[in-house]
Symmetry: C2
Subunit: 167 residues, 2 copies
């Protein structure tokens, strides 16, 4: 399977708009389920990013990964790339309600683990399809390199704040 | 753009597994955010489906739509089909936490409206790509034909139960 000419015929903004709506759905969870008094009370490692960095990082990641998807979507041989993108946007939308909504920290670590697998799958498949798309998802991979260990540490260091401990 | 031979070379279960994980992420929201005393107290129309029908319908829809995505993903010319699929799985994952978690019924109607647009987009794009995939998303479209009006009616008939009215 070789890339189609259509893939090089210019960027399709209508197509990008659909992926941006998917990203916006994921981003909206951060507006609805915010870190409040509960999150502030948790034991957190010193190396964690500042609170203001999270919305900045995620907005950047959501926009760039949607634009990367719009570059990859018209290319032949993109089946796994599109499957990994769909998988990451569902898991990303799920994570915030699981952690901040349901406060199921153990489950949130499992969701985060699957999300990391999906983004690794994107790196692997985008690499061979489109160099720009690959570059545009690097911030996502780098940020998860911080967010995943943070998620794990917060879960491990706050056993009393878990849903299962409360129930 | 013509369908590739790869699309007819047999069903790719590994690929389907990734779409099934995305569907499972959406389905997990229904396990975490259940209708409880709050939902039972709401005014609901008589024509609504029975409570037990919801998990049966959604499980069927999640499995069939994931398998449909795996049929369409290897086909050329599937850019919009894949974008609509990604859009629907993000919006679907978002809806339950918005309605049952945050209890933002007005916002849930907006999310449902966008979800209907995404599924209409899937019907439109899958139709020309693969007849089986189109058939497999028909239950989704039919169920939304019930769920969307129900969502709107519950929002309209329970102004006091809205987040904005509570705040």
């Amino acid at each position: 399977m070789t890339p189609e000419i259509a893939g090089a015929a210019g960027f399709d903004w209508q197509l990008a708009f659909l992926f941006l709506i998917a990203s916006a759905a994921a981003g909206l969870t951060g507006v609805l389920f915010k870190p409040g008094a509960w999150y502030e009370s948790l034991v957190k490692p010193d190396w964690r990013p500042k609170n203001w960095m999270f919305p900045v990082a995620w907005t950047t990641i959501y926009v760039l990964s949607a634009l990367a998807a719009a570059r990859v979507a018209p290319l032949a041989g993109n089946a796994y790339a599109m499957a990994f993108w769909a998988m990451q946007i569902a898991l990303n939308t799920l994570w915030t309600p699981v952690f901040f909504g349901a406060r199921r920290m153990g489950l949130s670590v499992a969701v985060m683990g699957l999300l990391c697998c999906a983004v690794l799958g994107m790196l692997w498949t985008f690499w061979s399809l489109d160099g720009w798309a690959f570059t545009m998802i690097l911030p996502y991979a780098i940020w998860l390199g911080l967010a995943a260990p943070l998620n794990w540490r917060v879960w491990r260091d706050n056993p009393g704040a878990n849903f299962s401990a409360e129930a």
